[in-house]
């Protein structure tokens, strides 16, 4: 199976050389195969969002590290054609309507006539009633669903989700779970960070544990008993963490 995401020796230090220097990532290496759903879990401040942003080319890694998405540099147009992304911080801008926002994304993703695709995505995420509303007028949970819808517009091959269930109510979490299962059947690769162990356990093939910027463990979730992930979480991330 071909590699969808390849990360080699990724490090990231913010404000290097100053007294406020923070080493957010240390020598992170891993690979995600096409069609896999991989979860990245770790406590707050572990480096999950930083790692995602480096994988997407939004932040530069320290020298010596390399990232490729679909065998391309993440900022190359070839890679961008195959990427979807849901950010943990929601896009804020007054005046932009939901449907226009999604149509823009579909157009940029290469769909010259995006109306049908946008309607389908809105229907899937139960957002049809929000189509004509401004993004700034929507609730946090609805904007989270818009960000999720944006990530899947244009049928990307690799989707990055940053805390996808953070602001969702339980029915929306169930819908997302079902949607991700469908995406897996279509061969879409999904890489997501989450605090929600149940979600990771329900949808992921594999899980990576990150603590203080270091990948400390990796487990396949195939055939594992219920509660396995919580036990692993305690073992790798809670018991190791200095008090």
């Amino acid at each position: 199976m071909a590699s969808a995401i390849h990360a080699q020796n990724i490090g990231k230090t913010f404000n290097p050389g100053s007294k406020n220097s923070v080493q957010a990532l240390r020598d992170v290496s891993f690979e995600v195969q096409q069609g896999e759903i991989v979860g990245l879990i770790g406590p707050n401040g572990a480096g999950k969002s930083t790692l995602l942003r480096i994988l997407l080319g939004f932040l530069n890694a320290d020298k010596g590290g390399s990232v490729s998405i679909l065998s391309q540099h993440p900022e190359s147009l070839e890679a961008r054609r195959g990427i979807g992304y849901q950010a943990d911080t929601q896009f804020r801008s007054p005046g932009v309507r939901t449907s226009a926002f999604l149509e823009l994304h579909a157009l940029l993703a290469g769909n010259a006539d995006p109306t049908d695709e946008v309607t389908a995505v809105l229907r899937h995420f139960n957002l049809l009633n929000a189509a004509a509303r401004k993004l700034s007028a929507l609730s946090k949970g609805m904007r989270q669903k818009i960000e999720l819808a944006v990530a899947f517009v244009g049928s990307p091959k690799v989707v990055f989700l940053d805390e996808p269930t953070a602001s969702l109510d339980p029915p929306s979490v169930f819908e997302l779970r079902e949607f991700l299962t469908q995406q897996k059947e279509k061969g879409t690769t999904v890489f997501f960070s989450s605090h929600n162990l149940t979600e990771v356990e329900n949808v992921c093939d594999r899980v990576l544990f990150i603590l203080d910027g270091t990948l400390v463990a990796e487990h396949s979730l195939a055939g594992t008993p219920p509660g396995f992930l919580e036990e692993s979480f305690r073992k790798h991330l809670v018991e190791r963490k200095p008090s």
Partner: protein, 244 residues
């Protein structure tokens, strides 16, 4: 959509407010001047006020706001290059500045000339076209500089920086002109205080002081340099500077 994002409710009041201000400035001129020269008055109000104000207000945070709001991230995840993104931004910003020049510069000038001028009103199409072309070039130059600033600093800071630069260049320029007018190299230095090639060219044209070849060359060189800085900066910035 870029254009629409610029025109927030607050932004609608910018050209109207500036228009009111230019009208207040033009009315006394119309009452005093024996010849109300449309091109000359346009040069006075546009170059000193409308162009820098409009550019600063629409472009002060042209890139930094996009980074802060997550708009840059939401666009660059798609297959568009940073250069394409910048061209779209420049087109939207330039359109907004052009609209502001029309609403706050052209319309008040025509209206004041028609209703308040006591003397002869002069509308000469040649100087008017040249003047407005040079306003637009000066606007592009300032937009380019603001894009450069905006890649590294927040919007409000850029507006203050531009205003301070403008005022400092004008004050130092006047001082040098009055005290050291005979010093060739200090006069040359004065030209470098603020990229004012297009402004100088317009002054020469309206004053029938010959062909402003070197002034135009200086203006275009500064415009090219400001755009080069803008494009270089946009390729250098990190889309998401925040840590987790």
């Amino acid at each position: 959509m870029e254009f629409r994002r610029q025109w927030t409710v607050a932004a609608f009041f910018i050209p109207i407010g500036l228009g009111a201000l230019t009208t207040i400035m033009l009315v006394p001129m119309a009452l005093i001047q024996p010849v109300y020269d449309f091109a000359r008055n346009a040069a006075q109000i546009n170059l000193s006020m409308v162009v820098p104000f409009a550019a600063a207000l629409f472009c002060g945070g042209i890139i930094s706001i996009d980074v802060k709001e997550g708009w840059l991230r939401t666009l660059l995840i798609r297959p568009i290059t940073r250069q394409q993104y910048l061209l779209i931004k420049l087109a939207a910003a330039f359109s907004s500045v052009v609209i502001t020049i029309v609403v706050a510069g052209v319309i008040p000038n025509i209206a004041v000339g028609a209703f308040f001028a006591k003397g002869v009103v002069r509308y000469e199409i040649g100087p008017i076209l040249v003047a407005h072309t040079l306003f637009l070039l000066q606007a592009l130059l300032i937009i380019g500089l603001l894009v450069f600033f905006s890649c590294w600093m927040p919007g409000i800071f850029n507006m203050v920086l531009l205003a301070a630069w403008y005022i400092a260049a004008a004050s130092i320029g006047s001082y040098l002109q009055s005290r050291f007018w005979s010093s060739e190299w200090l006069m040359l230095l004065r030209d470098f205080l603020f990229p004012s090639g297009f402004t100088s060219a317009l002054e020469m044209i309206l004053g029938n002081a010959g062909t402003p070849t070197s002034e135009l060359a200086w203006g275009f060189a500064a415009l090219g340099f400001s755009f080069a800085l803008a494009f270089w900066s946009v390729t250098r910035i990190e889309v998401d500077k925040s840590s987790e």
